[in-house]
Structure formats: C-alpha cells, structure tokens
Symmetry: none
Subunit: 244 residues, 2 copies
C-alpha cells in the first residue's frame, strides 16, 4: 500500500501550494510534485500557508510536464468536476482511495490550476477521472479543499489516526439507579406530586423512565443524589425553623 503522490499542475498561487501541503500532511501524505508552477519555485507565499508543513514543501519536486511528474507512477487519477468527451472510468474520492490501496504500484493524483482546472490533455494521460461529488449549482471547489478531501479519503481507509474515544463510564448498577429514584420519590410524595392517587402508578412509571433514560454512571447518579440532598436539606432546616 504505497501512499499516493499529489501532483499540482500549473498551480497559480503559492498560498494554495502551501495549503495543499498542509492538507496533505494533515492526512499523512508527504510526496508533493509541482508541474510548471506559474510563479516559479520556491514561492515565498507557500511557507506561511503551510502552517508547519514545511517538510512537504522542502521535499516538493518540480517538473516541466505531467508526463515527467508521473513517470514513476503506475496509476494516474485526474481530478476534475467538468465532464469531457474522454471515455474513462469516473471514481469518487472514496472509490479512488480504495483503488489506490488495492492496487500495487504508486498512484498519482492530478489537480489542475485554480482558475481553469486540468486541460483535456492533462486528463488524457490519466487512466481514471476522480470527481468529488459536489453541489451541481455551486461546483467551484478550492484547490486545497479538493486536496484535503482526497487526502482525507486516503487516510480514512488507511490505518492512520483513528480518534481514540474516551472510554465512557458504564451505567450505574440498577440498585444505584433505584436509590436515586427512591430518593426523589421520597421527596415528591409528601408534596402531592403523585396525586391524583389513581394516576400515581403511571406518574411513577414515567418519572422512573425519565431517570432511566440517561444511563447515568455511578458518579453521575451520585451527583444527582447530592443535588436532591442539597435541595431537601434546606427544606429540612426550613421546616425545623418553622416548627420551632
């Protein structure tokens, strides 16, 4: 499983080259190739936009043709939204990433200039067209954002950096939940909360299910017990005060 090469064909703005490098490194891609960058290379605007992905920029190789930039690649994908007369398979980023992982050999993904996108001649050298499914009424996808989606799809399928979820506390044992419910019921009963009495069993069932729904942990049940104790504590003091 060889990580794909990102090839920016005739990129116009150094800032976008830097942002593309940042997007690549975000998702573990480091092989950046530039075909005839408009403002030459290196480009002083690229570094700041890379926000720390300098390593990708420093390793970036410059070529004078798509053919030269992809000479060592077994699979070339051309990223384009525009439909052309070319008869080639069209893949989503997800399908293309799966293909890159499945196939032997290095893959290259071509991205065109900001303004115009890839020329038909550039697309012609690719075996596959990669199209990001996009809002048909608003198809202008920023270069770095096209790169980030393709890089994201690659890493999503690779083993890179799954988010390590904080293990959730298990729900408290039923006995603790019962304790919370009984505590609350004991406070509500003298208030007439469960009247009328012929409806009491339904009211209690509903209240119980409201307290059951959260799946509160032992800590959370303790917190709620503390809340009830706090509320009832003052009442106790009050009633003592009033009866004294």
């Amino acid at each position: 499983m060889t990580a794909p090469v990102i090839v920016l064909v005739r990129p116009q703005l150094g800032e976008n080259i830097g942002k593309a490098a940042r997007a690549m490194l975000n998702f573990g891609l480091v092989d950046l190739r530039l075909v005839s960058p408009r403002d030459g290379w290196p480009n002083p605007a690229a570094g700041p936009a890379a926000s720390g992905a300098d390593m990708v920029l420093e390793q970036a190789a410059v070529f004078d043709s798509v053919a030269a930039a992809t000479a060592d690649c077994a699979h070339v994908f051309a990223t384009t939204v525009r439909r052309r007369g070319l008869i080639k398979p069209v893949m989503t980023p997800e399908a293309a990433a799966a293909a890159m992982r499945a196939e032997a050999g290095r893959s290259a993904i071509l991205f065109g200039p900001e303004r115009s996108g890839l020329e038909t001649e550039d697309v012609a050298v690719a075996r596959t067209i990669l199209t990001v499914p996009i809002n048909p009424e608003f198809g202008s996808l920023n270069l770095a954002q096209a790169v980030v989606i393709v890089a994201y799809e690659w890493s999503r399928g690779a083993a890179l950096a799954q988010p390590s979820a904080i293990p959730l506390d298990p729900p408290a044992p039923q006995a603790e939940l019962d304790g919370l419910y009984d505590h609350l019921e004991g406070l509500l009963e003298p208030e007439g909360y469960f009247e009328p009495i012929d409806r009491a069993h339904v009211t209690k069932r509903n209240l119980r299910s409201v307290l059951t729904k959260p799946g509160w942990s032992s800590n959370e049940v303790r917190t709620m017990r503390g809340v009830l104790t706090c509320l009832s504590g003052r009442r106790q003091r009050r009633s003592n005060a009033s009866s004294s």
Copy 2:
C-alpha cells in the same frame, strides 16, 4: 433528514468565514451561524474568500453565545482534536453524518477559533464530540478544511441516505435544556451547592454535562421542570409559613 447548521464559534479571520461558507455551499449546506466573530459582522474579507457563496454569508446569523446559536437544535456536535476530561461519545465525521441523518431534529456542528479551537465550556454543551481522524504528528487542521470535510461527509452520505425510522421523540431543543439547567441552578445557588466559589465553574459544567447526557425530549424536560417546581414550591410555602 434536516441539513445540519454550521456554527463558527468566535472565528478570527473573515477570510476563513468566507472559505467556510464556500465549503458549505460546495456540499449543499446553507445555514451558517457565527458566535461573536472577533472582527464583527459583516466582515469585508469574507465575501472575496467565499468565491460566489455570498448567499450563505448574507443569510449568516450572528449570536452572542453558543447557547443562543444552538437554541433550536436537538443535537450539538463539538468539533475538536484536543482531548479533554469531558466524558462524551467521540465520533468521526462519517459516523456523525450518519447520526445526523438517522436522528430527528436539527443538528448543529460547532467549530472553534482558528488559533485555539473550542473552549472546554463550549464543548460541555455538546452531547457528542466530533473528531476528524488526523495525522497525530501534524494535527493542525485549517478551519475551512475542517468544515469542508464535515460538509463533504454529510453530502456523501445524504446521497446514499435511506429514509430511516424516525425516532418518535427527538431531544428537546437546546433552549429547553438550558431552561431546565437554569431552573435547577437557580434552586441550588442559594443552598451553597456551588461553593467553594473558585470551583463553581467546574461544578456547574459537570452538572450541565449530567443534564445534557440523557438527550431528554421536550416532554421529559417538562417532567423534570415539574419535579423542580414541585420541590421548590413547598419550600416557598415553608419559607412563607416560617416568615409569617
């Protein structure tokens, strides 16, 4: 299946707000909300960066708090890469998009300021943490690129989305949950529950998390409000009695 709301919390650069709007419209999202944008709103730098997604910017609503921005939302996702002490489920963009499609009610996705990301207080109001799986050695993801990945995942799945069984009772809008929390806090404050005062913000955050976890419906929130009213009502009578 309601399209999610994108909430930029204290965004710093107008350019990034514009790029986020463009990323949203690329994938069919139009509801942009801004919480206390650093440079005010409208921001002259946003329009050019939106590259034609002006409609999203023109419709963008500005709020002075995350609570206000998510008041009508049943599901709040906090986008963050940093680990926190908060015990909440963590989802990938793919899993979060699937959850948004499966659940009834509007979803909101919070994105933090460029430099620092969301504060723990912002994350505390969310039921779920959304984390983009990213290169652990290079975790700085540009704001607009985080937005484009989440929007892309939404539209990617929306294309495949099957009409799913609609939960009968979606979680109550955040505003109703806030009302319940404020009600309880108002009862606990005079009891000294939040002392010592220097710990009060942590105590309040934890209590808020406990009340956020259930995903209580409007009916269930009403039930809990009734419980609190019942408990406080008698206290009121008591205090009247004792003071008469």
